[in-house]
């Protein structure tokens, strides 16, 4: 034990090192900037927490990561049967359209539902070790992002198989939209993870909220079906209160790229014909709103964090 590679410091070394040592201040003050800095210094932990989340999720399962691909695959089959065969909606390449929105939604809902319970599920760690606990919520988002990337491979594959041409003028918006989505999901994840420690109802409530939210977002149905009617009533702005709508629309516009289709001689509108600039502006608004939410979530988290160890 004594002949370790990096030999342990002797007394003098300890003394000379003291001035350089990091100081940790434990106080009830809430310093949001200090917290962000702290999260940054623990970024290596974030990576290993994401890895841990993934490992635990599929521990003792034979198919492992395949499960995460089976979920959207099953959705595809069911919605395809229901909408194309039973309800006879003649949308071309409905599967691709659906997958664009589903991808975004799966990320969002996975991130939020696992972040909501993450602090309770990691009680053993939270009660024993001090580290920026926001990392737990961020790790949930990170794990969801990994699944998103896996499922995105399915989408790319589908695009290639069906030889769908994306709208190249809009493709550059995708990373921007993804960034907005991650930031928005992260801020909600941080807030929800802390609230659920004190109000365990949050996790059940979230299931319902996410269900309603799913249908409030143009994933299964095309935006224009509702958009046209809302525009007539002057209520379209309401629809854009939902940041996920903007992000889903961006994905659909860039990858599915069909504004309308002909059904028995009649043109049915699918997606709005806004310019890339319009999308960029909308995404910028989402990013700014999410940034404010993110700071708010950190402040809320900092207030609630102080008694986690007692509440768990």
């Amino acid at each position: 034990m004594l002949d370790q590679a990096n030999s342990l410091p002797d007394k003098n070394m300890v003394a000379s090192r003291i001035e350089d040592l990091p100081i940790r201040v434990v106080s009830p003050k809430v310093g949001v900037l200090a917290r962000i800095k702290n999260i940054w210094t623990f970024r290596e932990l974030l990576v290993s927490m994401v890895r841990k989340e993934l490992r635990i999720k599929y521990k003792n399962s034979v198919l492992g990561f395949l499960w995460s691909l089976l979920n959207p695959a099953l959705y595809l089959v069911i919605y395809y049967i229901v909408f194309q065969k039973i309800l006879k909606n003649n949308m071309p390449l409905f599967a691709i359209f659906l997958l664009c929105g589903l991808l975004v939604w799966n990320f969002f809902s996975n991130a939020l539902s696992s972040a909501t319970t993450t602090i309770i599920n990691n009680a053993g760690i939270v009660k024993k070790v001090a580290f920026p606990r926001e990392i737990l919520a961020l790790a949930s988002v990170g794990a969801a992002l990994i699944f998103f990337l896996l499922q995105a491979c399915v989408l790319v594959l589908a695009l290639a198989i069906f030889q769908v041409m994306p709208a190249f003028g809009y493709l550059w918006l995708i990373p921007f939209a993804l960034f907005a989505l991650v930031l928005f999901a992260s801020s909600l994840a941080i807030a929800l993870s802390a609230i659920n420690v004190y109000l365990r109802d949050t996790q059940h409530l979230m299931e319902l909220v996410l269900l309603a939210w799913f249908w409030a977002t143009p994933i299964v149905y095309p935006f224009q079906e509702l958009g046209v009617r809302l525009t007539q009533k002057g209520l379209l702005f309401l629809y854009f209160f939902n940041p996920v709508t903007v992000i889903v629309l961006t994905f659909q516009r860039a990858l599915y790229a069909k504004l309308s289709y002909l059904n028995s001689g009649k043109a049915i509108p699918l997606l709005p014909g806004y310019s890339p600039g319009w999308f960029a502006l909308q995404l910028l608004i989402v990013v700014l709103v999410s940034a404010v939410l993110f700071l708010g979530a950190l402040m809320l988290f900092a207030r609630l964090e102080g008694n986690f160890a007692e509440e768990l």
Binding site: P9, I18, L21, S27, I56, I125, K127, V129
Partner: protein
Amino acid sequence: MPAAIEIDDISKHFRLYHEKYTSLKERVIHLNKLPYDEFWALKNVSFDVNWGETVGLVGHNGSGKSTLLKCIAAILKPTSGEIRVRGRVAAMLELGAGFHPELSGRENIYLNAALLGVSKKDVDLRFDDIVDFSELGPFIDNQVRYYSSGMYTRLGFAVAVNVDPDILLVDEVLAVGDENFQRKCFDKVEEFQEEGRTIVFVSHSPDIVRRVCDRAYVLDHGKIVGEGTAPEAISILREFQARGSGLASMIASISEDSSSLLAAGAVQEQISLPGDRVMVDQISVAFPGTSGAGHLTPGDPLTVTVSYNATKPISGVLVGIQLFDQKGDLVFGTDSDLLGLEPLDVGSEGELEFSFPSVAVSDGLFSVAVGFTSAIDQRIYDWQNQELAFKVISNGKSSGYLKLEPRLILNGEAVPFKS
């Protein structure tokens, strides 16, 4: 040189809810009328821990010592005040470190080290040391949820001491695990002390505190009520423990509302009033059986002479004696009451003698502690320690702690001595 840990006037406030409402419905129903008691787990605690010191926090259950340690470890946040901690902190709180039950021991080592801010590269270097220390060997790839509590603790301690912490926080964990592992932990703690690392140690075992700590603070109801060297702190703690039941009833009689802290403060002042006391003046040992040698051989007689003085002649006094070995473990202890003797009436000064016809210990250096308590209210008048009072050197007939004299009988006949 700045202190390793600066604790600046911290208080920690809890609300003890009579019933805990964690569901939304209950919260809404009981909005604004949640029945709870205000409870200060810590109140205006301030002290510094210097580099290289081992500081003990002692106190009875609920005194706030574990809460204080959690605040130092940044696991709980104080309600007010500030703690500044320099360097890397490894904490061993109650049972084990923070492990995830679904992960294997190996994965948990990496996770735990990452939580403590240690990079994967550094863990790779120390991985074998950690596994060796934990004695988990072949079980290291099993999921932690199948570990016994002993294995859990061993792994936690192994990680904590091998991540090169500047400050080690330990809470009672050494009470778990077999004796062998405990010894290893104490060796490691001693190694840390020699290397000049800082340790904060929470325990309610006086033996461990005496053995490990340079200094100790005594906590009671969230306040520091005493500090000093380990033996001094222990005698303050004993005084409080002896008062324990009395304290509770006094608080109840003074105040019936929940502002018990004020009441506790008032009681503390009463306790610290000196009053009449019997004090140990000097402890001396003599070896009547040996002819002038400065040590005993096993089985020799021993006398311990205590000179005392009292503020006035006092009746109803009990006297106690304890012998400790070099590690601070209690070897022997008793008092006049346990021996079935009448309480003593002591004058304002005098001398007492404990006479041991035979000290049946083998090799070692021993310390003697003598104290006076009141037979009436168990109040401790004084408790003094004489470090390294006498030495026993074995005559080579046996090894180990005790002097026993077995006889050997072969087929019913005693084996004869060598001629």
